[in-house]
């Protein structure tokens, strides 16, 4: 992936979101953030409509879902929604835990990778391989 790729970052943790945004910005990416699935989906659709779609989405798992309720699988649901709109979209699912089965679930929903938060420099390397 190019260094100036357009990235959508959806995470409800303000600190995590801002920290990751800074890391991605420093790496040269064009970063847009959202604090929940609804606003993330809205941002994604808006970009699609404007003809400047996102190249990559980074989605947290546990956050308010499309109905506005706290949901440990909110990220997976948003993932399916985004892939439905753009089947070729590259998506990385972010989580705070080492959960193999959930990772497999993300892969089966066409995520390109599943990333355990806390090691952002490795995330940059991962994004560049996608």
């Amino acid at each position: 992936m190019d260094n100036d790729a357009k990235i959508l970052l959806v995470d409800d943790e303000r600190g995590v979101r801002r920290s990751m945004e800074k890391t991605l910005l420093r790496a040269g990416f064009d970063v847009y953030t959202a604090e929940d699935t609804l606003s993330g989906l809205a941002l994604f659709k808006e970009a699609q409509e404007e003809g400047e779609p996102f190249d990559l989405a980074l989605l947290d798992l546990h956050m308010p879902n499309l109905e506005g309720e706290e949901d440990p699988n909110a990220g997976l649901k948003l993932l399916s929604k985004l892939i439905e709109i753009e089947p070729e979209l590259r998506v990385v699912v972010l989580t705070a835990y080492d959960e193999v089965e959930r990772a497999k679930e993300a892969i089966s929903r066409k995520a390109r990778a599943y990333f355990v938060k806390g090691r952002e420099s490795e995330l940059i390397d991962l994004i560049r391989t996608l």
Binding site: E13, G15, V16, R18, S19, M20, K22, T23, R26, T95, A96, Y97, D98, E99, V100, E101, R102, A103, K104, I107, A113, Y114, F115, V116, K117, G118, R119, E120, S121, T129
Partner: protein, 710 residues
């Protein structure tokens, strides 16, 4: 006989009659009365011999009760008796209720020639009767022929009648006395039974109830000792719960217990579920000779039964032989039955209370665990950006053009402190929350999990590791990823413990083990470090306890315990004979049935793995199903000819990444399955990028293998 002699004789007879009358009034002991009577007859009348016979209970024999002189004593010692209605004079007198007199015994056909009384020439047998009922007879014998005068006969018959009344009265007195004693005893037993009933319903304290029971039994029945035994949890031994007196107290204190089915009466009564009674314990094979109860001569062991279930037994002991009447046995068994019901009710209540307490504990624990998890989750997530931010600050510092070296060093120091703390918080989150997530227990080859963990850890070369897995180990039940994590914690501890050893060594032994009836696979990890200090044993499992300094969260063993408890296993720490530590993980043996399954057939498999228990299992299973299997442990081969490639993620002498690179290059990814005994997300993502069909936890049963290959 002249008149003066006659008068003298009559005076003697009156005198003798008066003495007998006085005796009858004053002597209460029937035996002594009879003896005195025969003595008076001989002394006052000048007869050779006199004796009193009484009929036995069946009224078949007249048994000699007292006899004058040595002859009398000798005959009593011999148990001299004569058949009622038989040929002897006593037999005839008692049979017919009629006085018989033989004035010349030589001519009298009914006389029994008694070797103890060779000089007898005259004999008189006078029935002892009360009304029409004969109770015995009096014999009077003389060395003279025709010795008895009419006066003698009259006087002696009067004496005999008096004696009969006295004997009868004495008997009635004894009978009445016995009846009274029996009535009193019955009243006492009824009172005891009533007290037991009151106690079993009113005393809620089991211990107090049992002690009161043994006191009631001993006080009401007058027994030497009573004790209550209850079965232990394993139902292998009966443990004394309460015992009468000092002996009981000492035995309870000593933890006195008897083996069920053993030689003791209690052990036998419980095993056979029926009362055991030893009336003379010296001759009873099953009696347990108890040094605390040396005087026991009779013992009774009554099982405590509730329906068909035996819960213990009561022992009752007496210093007398044959001490227990049928009434005692039935009333004591009734008490034992009541006690058993009370004990069972108390046990049920206790279980209910325990279940309730457990429920409250569980709920409290769940609430605390949930709150803790939420809190740690929250703190951990907040701490996540800290490490990254600090890294950015490090990077930024390098771009700061000029800064005094002292100041730069100080900032670096502070950043390191912040980063260490943040990393610790993140590690705590992973340790505490990690084991509880995605818990998926399944049948597993524990030896394979241990071996893979050992191999993947790449233990420093200076640490000598010995690994021994006993042959044909059964499958355990575990979440292998979590178990691997626990094993890794323990191995890491062992490596750290041997840091100061001259020749660091770790010994791993895996073997089957039975503990309290439960089957386990025991994983023993021993090191040659300094061991665990005695006062640390209870602390090492506590969350946040560490002896390794501030950078350690102290969560390793606590998380280990959590993982092992999750599978109902055990983890034990102890020091070996040489003082070094050993940790033993007991993983429960899988008890379920291994379902019949349909594996693929007529396929060609490539198995990339070392020669080990798991590869043998896969190879044998697939070949048996009609497939061909080639096992290799290298990357430089032609992957083309195979239908399915199975790769073990952990290989002893090479990195599985090299194998996957070769597979990927050969375009064989889509037919490749990677398996691992423990799986982490990052590793899975790394492996899946080689285009393989799946990366998953290793299958350890044919059903799981079939599922992976489907």
């Amino acid at each position: 006989m002249d008149k003066s002699k006659l008068a003298e004789r009559r005076a003697a007879l009156l005198h003798a009659g008066a003495r007998v009358s006085r005796n009858i009034i004053s002597i209460l002991d029937p035996e002594e009365l009879l003896q005195q009577t025969v003595n008076i007859i001989c002394e006052e009348f000048g007869f050779y011999y006199s004796g009193v016979f009484l009929l036995d209970e069946e009224r078949e024999w007249a048994v000699l009760q007292s006899g004058h002189g040595d002859a009398g004593a000798a005959m009593i010692a011999e148990g001299h008796k004569l058949k009622v209605g038989g040929l002897s004079m006593i037999g005839a007198a008692t049979g017919r209720n009629k006085a018989l007199i033989a004035l010349d015994v030589g001519d009298e056909p009914v006389h029994f020639k008694n070797p103890h009384l060779p000089l007898t020439r005259s004999e008189m047998a006078l029935p002892l009767a009360v009304g029409d009922k004969v109770i015995g007879a009096l014999t009077v014998q003389s060395v003279e022929e025709a010795a008895f005068t009419e006066d003698d006969i009259t006087a002696l018959q009067a004496m005999a009648d008096q004696l009969a009344v006295a004997i009868n009265n004495a008997r009635l007195y004894t009978e009445n006395h016995e009846l009274l004693a029996r009535a009193e005893r019955r009243a006492r037993l009824l009172e005891a039974a009533a007290e037991v009933s009151r106690n079993v319903t009113s005393i809620l304290d089991l211990d107090k109830l049992l002690h009161r029971m043994v006191d009631i039994i001993c006080e009401a029945y007058g027994f030497y000792y009573a004790g209550v035994f209850l079965l232990d949890k394993e139902k292998e031994a009966a443990v004394l719960q309460a015992g009468r007196g000092k002996a009981g107290k000492v035995m309870v204190g000593e933890g006195h217990h008897l083996k069920v089915g053993g030689l003791s009466m209690i052990g036998t009564a419980i095993a056979e579920r029926k009362a055991r009674i030893a009336l003379d314990v010296g001759e009873e094979a099953v009696h347990f000779k108890n040094p605390h109860l040396p005087l026991t001569r009779s013992e009774m062991a009554l099982p405590l039964m509730v329906g068909d279930k035996v819960i213990g037994a009561v022992t009752v002991q007496s210093t007398e032989e044959a001490a227990f009447s049928a009434e005692d046995i039935s009333s004591l068994q009734a008490m034992a039955d009541q006690l058993a019901v009370a004990l069972d009710n108390a046990r049920l209540l206790q279980e209910l209370e325990q279940a309730h307490a457990e429920l409250v504990r569980t709920k409290t624990f769940e609430a605390i665990a949930t709150a803790t998890t939420e809190a740690i989750h929250w703190i951990g997530n907040k701490a996540l950006p800290i490490t990254v931010s600090v890294q950015r600050l490090y990077d930024d510092l390098e771009d700061v053009p000029s800064m005094p070296p002292d100041q730069l060093e100080s900032i670096h120091e502070d950043l390191t402190l912040i980063q260490d703390s943040a990393r610790l918080i993140v590690a705590v989150k992973e340790h505490l929350i990690g084991p509880a997530r995605e818990y998926m227990p399944a049948p597993a080859m524990i030896e394979d999990v241990v071996k893979d963990t050992l191999t993947a850890m790449r233990i420093p070369e200076d640490v000598a590791v010995s690994y021994e897995a006993k042959a044909a180990l059964p499958l355990g039940i575990a979440d292998t990823t979590q178990l691997s994590r626990a094993i890794k914690y323990v191995l890491q501890n062992a490596i750290e413990a041997t840091a100061e050893a001259d020749a660091p060594a770790i010994d791993v032994v895996i073997e089957p083990k039975e503990d309290k009836g439960q089957l386990y696979i025991s994983v023993q990890i021993a090191d040659n470090g300094p061991g665990i200090p005695e006062d640390e044993f209870n602390k090492i499992w506590a969350t946040f306890y560490t002896t390794k300094g501030a950078k350690h969260a102290g969560l390793g063993l606590s998380a280990c315990m959590q993982i092992i408890k999750q599978i109902d296993g055990k983890i034990i720490a102890r020091n070996q004979a040489n003082g070094s530590a050993m940790f033993e993980l007991l993983v429960p043996v899988y008890q379920g049935k291994l379902a019949a399954t349909e594996l693929p057939v007529s396929q060609s498999f490539l198995l990339v793995d070392d020669e080990d228990a798991w590869s043998r299992f896969v190879e044998e299973s697939l070949v048996e199903a009609g497939n061909t299997v080639t096992r290799v442990a290298e990357a430089d081969i032609d992957f083309g000819p195979y239908d399915v490639i199975l790769v073990d993620e952990v290989l002893e002498d090479m990195n599985s990444i090299d194998v996957l690179t070769a597979i990927s290059k050969a375009g064989a990814g889509p037919k490749t399955l990677v398996v691992a005994s423990n799986m982490r997300v990052e590793r899975m993502m790394e492996l899946i990028r080689y285009g393989v069909r799946d990366v998953s936890v290793k299958p350890y049963t044919q059903a799981a293998l079939a599922e992976k290959l489907r």
